[in-house]
């Protein structure tokens, strides 16, 4: 018995603690998912409704309209007025999704591409000293709110306001430090002998990068790409300040519920939030193993 207790005490303790935190970590996500299926009379009910017995897809239909003709805000009409007219904002969530995809994907791709090259240079030719490498992180660490006003003016002069390229450039800049740091930690692990061999065989430097290094660090580059995608995808402030009508992104689209005078439309918010969050969660689960490596900035030797 005593031995049994001794053997199982720690695993039991571990499972308990881990389960407790897993519940804490998962609960808000469970709640938002569950709320997105609730009909409107259950949004603020007391006692709270945990899983709706009257689950409905109405919230999704409202927020993510499939038919281009319906206006998202026209609720089923009680008094007979026609709602046949298309609202200009009807397709906004899809429009925002398109923008988010375009901006996040391309800025991330550019950042990772340049980041990888820089990282290669740093790793093999020390084009940046250690100090410079750390200083690169400053780019990421300055709160974006600090530069919002001059950036607005600057972008207006450059005609970059409300353009996808404007946002792509900004996100390229803010994510470059992470891109360099993460890919460098992967490149550092590639043995140099292979490059030397390639060089002796007469390969050019670019060939070496593309044909020797890149295949070896591919999974790391994928991890970096996806990690930066997460950060770019959720960025709110810069996107809010630098967009007008054309390049509204999903987080900005969601923010319009701030101070909504018709009351907290929890169900609609939740349906939109699920749409924003779940792609990330799927990506995150997909790259979970890579995240570990990417995050440690070479501080951990494997």
């Amino acid at each position: 018995m005593k031995r049994f207790v001794k053997k199982w005490r720690y695993p039991l303790f571990r499972t308990l603690m881990l389960t407790a935190w897993a519940l804490l970590a998962g609960f808000p996500i469970f709640w938002i998912t569950s709320t997105s299926f609730k009909p409107d009379n259950e949004w603020h009910k007391w006692p709270p409704v945990y899983v709706s017995k009257n689950a409905t897809l109405d919230n999704y239909r409202m927020v993510w309209p499939i038919h281009q003709t319906g206006s998202i805000f026209v609720t089923p009409d009680q008094k007979g007025h026609g709602v046949a007219h298309e609202s200009v904002t009807a397709n906004k969530p899809w429009h925002a999704l398109k923008n988010s995809l375009l901006i996040a994907l391309s800025s991330t791709a550019i950042a990772v591409a340049f980041g990888t090259l820089l990282a290669y240079g740093v790793s093999r030719y020390r084009i940046l000293s250690d100090t410079r490498m750390f200083q690169l992180l400053v780019l990421r660490m300055i709160p974006p709110i600090v530069v919002a006003a001059p950036l607005t003016l600057y972008y207006s002069v450059l005609q970059l306001m409300d353009t996808a390229s404007g946002l792509i450039v900004v996100y390229f800049i803010t994510s470059l430090p992470y891109a360099v740091w993460m890919t460098k930690s992967f490149i550092d692990e590639v043995p140099r002998e292979m490059e030397q061999a390639a060089e002796i065989l007469g390969a050019s430097r670019w060939q070496t990068i593309w044909e020797i290094i890149f295949p070896l660090i591919r999974s790391g580059v994928v991890a970096t790409f996806l990690f930066i995608l997460i950060l770019t995808w959720s960025e709110y402030l810069l996107s809010f300040i630098l967009s007008k009508v054309d390049v509204v992104t999903l987080p900005v689209q969601l923010s319009k519920y701030e101070g909504s005078t018709e009351g907290r439309v929890y169900g609609h918010q939740a349906a939109l939030a699920v749409g924003i969050t779940f792609p990330l969660i799927i990506i995150g689960i997909f790259i979970r193993k890579h995240l570990v490596r990417g995050f440690t900035f070479g501080m951990v030797k494997r």
Partner: protein
Amino acid sequence: MTASATETAAGTGAAPARGSRSRGIRIFKWTLLTPLFSLFFFLMPVFLLQLYFSLHSWTIYLSSWWDADYAGFDLFREVLTESRFYWAFARSFLFAGLSTVGCFIIGFGLALLMYRPFRGHSVFYVLFILPMLTVPIVISYTADMLLFRSGPINDIMSFLAGTEIRFTWLANPNFAIFTIIMLEIWNWTPFAFIIMLAGLSSLPAEPVEAARILGASRLRIFWEIQIPLLRPVIFLALILRFLEAMAEFPKTWGLLQGGPGTSTETIPVYLYIVTWRAFNVSKGAAASYLVMLLMIVIILSAIYVLRREKKALDALYEKPAGGGEA
């Protein structure tokens, strides 16, 4: 520094060096550095404009920016004599400090429980990283749904405690900032967890084994072997988290806009209000410069610490395994 430089030279210079080759390398280096320089030149005007704003008194609706009056350091003086600015700073430090420590303790604790594989490991792992993948603005709305007085959190707490609890999470001026800190901890514990897990799993097994054979207690092994070996990772987790927390905006703003009263007004919220509510761009710019300066000081000291730790680590691993510390 010198050691690694020679190492690089040794690494790349195995083939006999020729003039054309070194020229080729130079061209190659500069090709790689070009994007960085263009970035620098692209960004220059932003910081120059910011400097211009902070030295001229410009409120958006009062004049055009190009003919704003020169104000010298008046705006800096105005910001520095404003108690609101200091309060915002204090709150930001409290917010960043406590949330960093919280994230770290929980993340480290979880990592300690998780670093040896067991059944169900990957299920927990996936659940634990979920919060980090949630968009911050979504978190602020979710928190609003969860935390109001007759919301699910109070319901669950009432259930657990057996009596009805109606705790005021958001409207209590003394507690609101802690609510936001808890959200930040929830959001970013995965970050500390992942880093610490990576750190723990990469620790060499030999020193621990040796100590165990010598009869050291688990606690002693933890404090005297594992912690010292993990120091660089710990610093990294703390510093990165602290810096990101100093800039946190969407959650704080989305949930309480700095209220109730001003009890959650952190530096980013203060800057937002000054620049985009009062449209006092110059004062915002001056405050931004002060914040930037402080952040740079923090970052530089962080860099100093990180570099020292990294060097120590590199030195440690250059020695035969299991050497030194144990």
